[in-house]
């Protein structure tokens, strides 16, 4: 296992008391595996990976539980050591390539900066590697592109540059937080292709966040569904799409067009709104919106055992 997260809990001190944003999140990622995380906005996907990256900088955040990277505990790790891991062994790609790069430096400068931070190489070598990386992610005429400023590239090219930057030190784990959400549909497909190709050549494990199940179906080996800061279902890709168990996952799948076959007359939406985290219902968090709710849901379900885990009493959750 490259990453083992156990009972991760993240809370924020706010005016309305402690708000728990992640509640008992446990998962692991094997070498070279692609783990997908889906869920509605605010379900805690970003927070989960920020915790792994050690990038929750809010002084009001309280992080509990355990995050082990290659057996090494990251929670409570000294900032120096965490910095040394970040960008070298664990890298991250962000959602919006428009704002993810510092506007006043060239692409090459920003990639070289990361190489020079982690490795003792000459500036020249770092720039050469930046050019090679840009070529690898499919940016045309990379010798010229290194001298470009972020605003001179299109969104898709910028995201490629961001991906090149994430790959600089050949990370063992790559975290991608909705890397295609901000892009045009055609560009989305190209970026997904690129990620798939890079995954094959570099062999990094990837934690991939999206709220687009179609994207998920193309890339993920295993999928984890989150709701209100909790994991509600987790399974390999095929069983999850073929036989979703949790009513929330079923609703999510019904809300997108099917991957194959005829498009249904109309898509279903999930009734109600996601709950406020500061005021979660007792028991199952999805309960108030659940069409199959029954008496047992007043208690909080835990996950069933692998391979197809669900947190729903209908599926025999403990």
């Amino acid at each position: 296992m490259i990453l083992q997260v156990t009972d991760l809990r993240v809370s924020f001190r706010t005016e309305h008391g402690m708000v728990r944003v992640l509640d008992g999140v446990s998962f692991d990622v094997a070498e070279g595996e692609v783990l997908g995380i889906v869920g509605e906005s605010g379900s805690g996907k970003t927070m989960t990976v920020l915790a792994v990256m050690g990038l929750i900088t809010d002084p009001n955040a309280v992080i509990e539980g355990s995050i082990k990277f290659r057996g090494r505990e990251l929670v409570g790790l000294r900032p120096r050591e965490m910095r040394d891991l970040r960008g070298r062994e664990i890298a991250m790609i962000f959602q919006d390539p428009m704002t993810a790069l510092t506007p006043v430096y060239t692409i090459g400068w920003q990639i070289a900066e990361q190489i020079l931070t982690h490795e003792k190489v000459s500036k020249k070598a770092a720039w050469d590697r930046a050019i090679a990386l840009l070529a690898e992610v499919g940016i045309p005429r990379p010798e010229e592109a290194v001298h470009r400023y972020p605003h001179q590239l299109s969104g898709g090219m910028r995201q490629r540059a961001v991906i090149a930057m994430a790959l600089t030190c050949n990370p063992a784990l790559l975290v991608a937080d909705e890397p295609t959400t901000a892009l045009d549909v055609t560009v989305q497909a190209q970026i997904l292709d690129l990620l798939r190709k890079l995954q094959a050549t570099h062999g990094s494990a990837i934690v991939f966040i999206t709220h687009d199940l179609g994207v998920m179906a193309e890339l993920a080996d295993r999928i984890m569904v989150m709701y209100a800061g909790r994991i509600v279902e987790r399974a390999a890709r095929e069983p999850l799409f073929a036989d979703p168990q949790h009513p929330y996952t079923v609703a999510l799948l019904n809300s997108i067009p099917p991957l194959e076959g005829a498009r249904p007359h109309r898509l279903q939406t999930i009734a109600g709104a996601p709950p406020s985290l500061s005021n979660l219902p007792q028991g199952c968090a999805f309960g108030p919106r659940c069409p199959k709710r029954f008496a047992a849901c007043a208690a909080r379900p835990r996950l069933t055992l692998p391979p197809h885990e669900t947190a729903c009493f209908l599926t025999g959750a403990p």
Binding site: D84, R86, F94, T102
Partner: protein, 323 residues
């Protein structure tokens, strides 16, 4: 580039023309303002007034008066004062320039260096006590009137505590030419520099702290953290670097205005014969040729400072370069 410079020059001429016309109209076209009456003094008889009017050319049409004045400033350079007849205005203004430049340059060095330090340190310790302390000090610096501060400085360093070792080096008020006495130049200006810069140190420190803190919320800072950069590097190379754009704009405007004469109060308190002091004296006795010359000089510097800001902008922000 050449085009941009020519455009600037044209803009500068236009601004200077506009301002000179405006000043001229204010002093001659405003009802109730009669420079002749002012020059002739109180209780002057109508005959005397008429004589004054004629001898100063006030009986000619506006545009003739205006053109004569412009010619005397720019072409012949022999414009004379209305108040001290025979006193050549252009050389007098030129004489004050080194004084004002010395004062403003020195103060600018101080305020840039110290506000950078304050802004960065406060942003690095944001919301903790060093930040709060620095911001309160900055606020105090901003709220102290420069005239009052100058008087207090003089009181301390010239009279009350002049004899203790700490201030014994402070020379008497007045300006010493750099070419003749560099040490004297430096020593006489130290206290005025400090006095003038305190307001700007407070102001710029606070502005910089705010813009760095804002920059630290940006997505690219999160990317920088994800790259594994140190907090110091993130603060200086990413957050500070992008914040400098606002800082430079502010600096150019203030610097231009100060060189153009807004250092007036400091000049008056410390007995420095600078542009501000000259304008101030000329305003007191409505000496239009002097006012006109200093105003033109000031507008020249304000536009020049703006042009310099634009160039620095291009150096600092690649986004401006291409568009």
């Amino acid at each position: 580039m050449t085009y941009a410079i020519l455009q600037r020059l044209a803009q500068m001429l236009f601004v200077m023309f506009g301002i000179s016309l405006l000043v001229f109209l204010i002093f001659f076209g405003t009802p109730g303002v009669d420079p002749a009456a002012r020059i002739a003094g109180r209780n002057a008889s109508p005959e005397v007034l008429e004589a004054v009017r004629h001898s100063f050319g006030f009986d000619q049409p506006f545009y003739v008066q205006y053109l004569t004045m412009m010619k005397k400033i720019f072409v012949t350079g022999d414009l004379t004062s209305f108040v001290n007849r025979g006193w050549k205005v252009v050389p007098a203004v030129l004489d004050t320039i080194p004084v004002t430049l010395s004062l403003v340059f020195g103060a600018a060095v101080l305020w840039v260096v110290f506000s950078l330090i304050i802004g960065v340190v406060a942003a690095a310790f944001r919301d903790r006590w060093p930040d709060k302390l620095l911001m309160i000090l900055g606020l105090i610096g901003i709220s102290m009137p420069v005239y009052w501060l100058g008087e207090v400085m003089n009181l301390i360093t010239q009279s009350r505590f002049h004899d203790i070792w700490l201030f014994a080096w402070v020379p008497p008020l007045g300006y010493k030419e750099f070419g003749k006495d560099p040490e004297g130049w430096f020593l006489t200006l130290v206290i005025p520099w400090i006095t003038l810069s305190i307001l700007y140190i407070g102001l710029y420190g606070r502005v910089l702290r705010a813009s760095i803190t804002e920059a630290l919320q940006e997505d690219y800072i999160r990317t920088a953290r994800a790259k594994g950069l140190s907090e110091t590097r993130i603060l200086l190379r990413h957050a500070l670097r992008t914040s400098l754009i606002a800082f430079v704009t502010l600096f150019g405007l203030d610097f231009g205005a100060l060189v153009g004469g807004s250092a007036l109060l400091t000049e008056v308190v410390f007995g420095l014969q600078g542009v501000g002091k000259l304008t101030f004296d000329a305003l007191q006795n409505l000496d239009l040729p002097v006012i006109m010359t200093t105003v033109l000089y000031a507008s020249f510097f304000v536009v020049l400072a703006n042009a310099v800001v634009d160039v620095v902008y291009i150096l600092l922000d690649p986004r401006v370069r291409t568009s």
